[in-house]
């Protein structure tokens, strides 16, 4: 699995993808930092993350859409799946490397926190739960993006399916309040209040596990129908 993580992370930064993702994320964060924090003269770092969560819908596919679609299109999946590595370790390797790039992007936002610490005293507990919640949300998003990439050889389709799915879950509460707890982005809103929302964490992890398993099943199944 390490071999795959090493290569995948390297690939993100050998191609512009890693830089574009982190750059875009930080650029949007800067905008929100100015609009939601600086303009109000507050030290509430988490406000920036409220808005950043919406942007995640559109930038996660940058990380995930190529994962398996590109390998299938180029035929390199033949090298991957005929190696002695198991499908499970390949899927986990790819998932963790995308998660790693996401983590790097998130750590960069600590610069904004440092600025706030210079001018005031932000509430450290809410900051930590926000960062945790945001990372959980991105893990869930990455797992779905990876799944979408495993079902097609067209990266664009993988990306569009991913964005479409996120938008649908985003607006679920508008259809029925009972669906609120299935809206990934709504679940995130509990974290910036400083709570370690166990129920939400469990939901995120379940969702992530579900789509990792589905990806493995899809790839396994492709062996017999390909």
């Amino acid at each position: 699995m390490w071999a795959i993580i090493k290569k995948e992370v390297k690939s993100y930064f050998l191609t512009p993808i890693g830089y574009v993702f982190i750059g875009l994320f930080l650029a949007m964060c800067s905008v929100f930092f100015y609009l939601d924090v600086i303009q109000y003269g507050s030290v509430q770092f988490e406000y920036m993350y409220y808005s950043a969560a919406t942007i995640l819908t559109f930038i996660i596919p940058i990380l995930t859409m190529r994962m398996f679609a590109e390998e299938r299109k180029n035929g390199t999946e033949q090298l991957l799946f005929t190696s002695p590595r198991s499908i499970t370790s390949i899927v986990f390797g790819k998932f963790l490397s995308a998660a790693f790039v996401m983590l790097i992007a998130e750590l960069f936002t600590l610069v904004y926190l440092a600025i706030l610490f210079y001018f005031g005293t932000p509430h450290i507990q809410t900051v930590l739960t926000t960062i945790l919640g945001f990372f959980m949300l991105s893990l869930a998003y990455i797992s779905f993006g990876m799944f979408a990439s495993s079902i097609t050889e067209n990266q664009i389709i993988a990306g569009v399916v991913t964005i479409g799915f996120f938008i649908i879950t985003w607006f679920l509460p508008n259809f029925s309040t009972e669906l609120t707890s299935f809206s990934l982005i709504n679940m995130f809103n509990k974290f910036p209040s400083g709570l370690i929302a166990l129920e939400e964490i469990a939901m995120y992890l379940t969702f992530t596990a579900l789509f990792i398993i589905l990806t493995i099943i899809v790839l396994q199944r492709k062996k017999s129908i390909k």
């Binding site: 071999a3 795959i4 290569k7 050998l14 390199t76 033949q78 005929t82 190696s83 002695p84 590595r85």
Partner: protein
């Protein structure tokens, strides 16, 4: 080394590979021969474990490719059709990644990579990005990827497609030298290539095995038909008369009416007789000038065409 037992692959109702079985022994160089779409790549993909057969089992070095996948796959080096590569990596990075994928031990890795690059002549380009390499080099990089980890079996899917004649010769020589240390399976639709490199040929058509034999045997078996080609200048149209007295002729056909007034005929005779001497004598008597007289040798190409044609006829009946 490789045992393929009653393997069938279906896509819906389409049967791509139909109940094939064969054994490949250690150290053999085996060629898969067949027209496009015959099931060569499908069969290779099943041996490498990339796709699963609908029915049947495949053993590589005694390990079932589905049940003992890790152990079986460790013994295989695969060069897929169309040489897919990670274009953003350098040659060395790619080989190093393949070494990782193939569970090469960390201590040995550096040496393994060096050796493979030496074997495939890639030292000079090791730090170049793969996307900037020419087709011939890409082919060698792909070969290096297959070789890394010293697998017992090498499976090469159309290894010489898209190369210039010089590169083709290089790759063929490389394959021959690899055959000394590895069991090699290669697929091709270039017949001369297979007859040059391989000790054993498996001819496959519409998903079925039509023949398994050495290239020599296949050629010999096809020689049943004895055909003589003769080009003559026959101003008085006496050729019919001239061949009448010769025994054993089954059929004579006009092949070509050349512009310079000569005509080319093909004469089919019974097997095991040579009538060239009689032709020479009789034609001279009748005043026919012979420009060319040649007995056709059966080639692997003929063997192949025959087998494939017979198969198609059989299918229609």
């Amino acid at each position: 080394m490789i045992e393929v037992k009653n393997v069938t692959k279906k896509y819906g109702s389409f049967v791509a590979v139909d109940n094939i079985s064969f054994d490949i022994k250690e150290g053999e160089i085996v060629g898969f021969l067949g027209p496009n779409g015959a099931g060569k790549s499908t069969t290779m993909n099943m041996i490498t474990g990339f796709i699963e057969p609908t029915e049947g089992t495949i053993l590589v070095n005694g390990y079932d490719i589905q049940k003992k996948a890790r152990k079986a796959k460790k013994e295989i080096g695969y060069m897929p059709e169309g040489v897919p590569l990670y274009n953003d990596l350098t040659v060395k990075e790619f080989i190093s990644y393949m070494a990782d994928l193939k569970l090469v031990k960390r201590k040995e890795k550096k040496q393994v990579i060096e050796n493979v690059m030496e074997d495939t002549n890639l030292i000079d380009v090791q730090n170049k990005l793969i996307k900037n390499l020419s087709r011939g080099y890409k082919q060698r990089v792909s070969m290096a990827g297959a070789l890394v980890g010293n697998p017992k079996v090498l499976i090469l899917d159309e290894p010489t497609v898209g190369l210039d004649p010089k590169q083709i010769t290089e790759i063929r020589n490389l394959i021959k030298s690899l055959g000394k240390k590895h069991t090699v399976i290669l697929s091709s639709h270039i017949l001369s290539e297979v007859s040059q490199i391989c000790e054993k040929v498996i001819i496959i058509n519409s998903g079925k095995i039509v023949a398994i034999d050495t290239p020599e045997n296949l050629e010999n078996n096809t020689k049943k038909e004895n055909i003589i080609t003769v080009t003559v200048e026959d101003l008085e149209n006496k050729i019919e008369e001239a061949i009448k007295p010769i025994e054993g002729i089954e059929e004579m056909k006009l092949q070509k009416d050349n512009e310079d007034g000569t005509k080319q005929y093909s004469i089919k005779t019974k097997a095991d007789i040579d009538i060239r001497k009689n032709i020479f004598e009789n034609f001279a008597k009748e005043g026919i000038t012979i420009f060319e007289l040649k007995k056709s040798e059966a080639t692997l190409e003929d063997a192949f065409m025959n087998l494939v044609k017979n198969e198609e006829k059989g299918g229609e009946e």
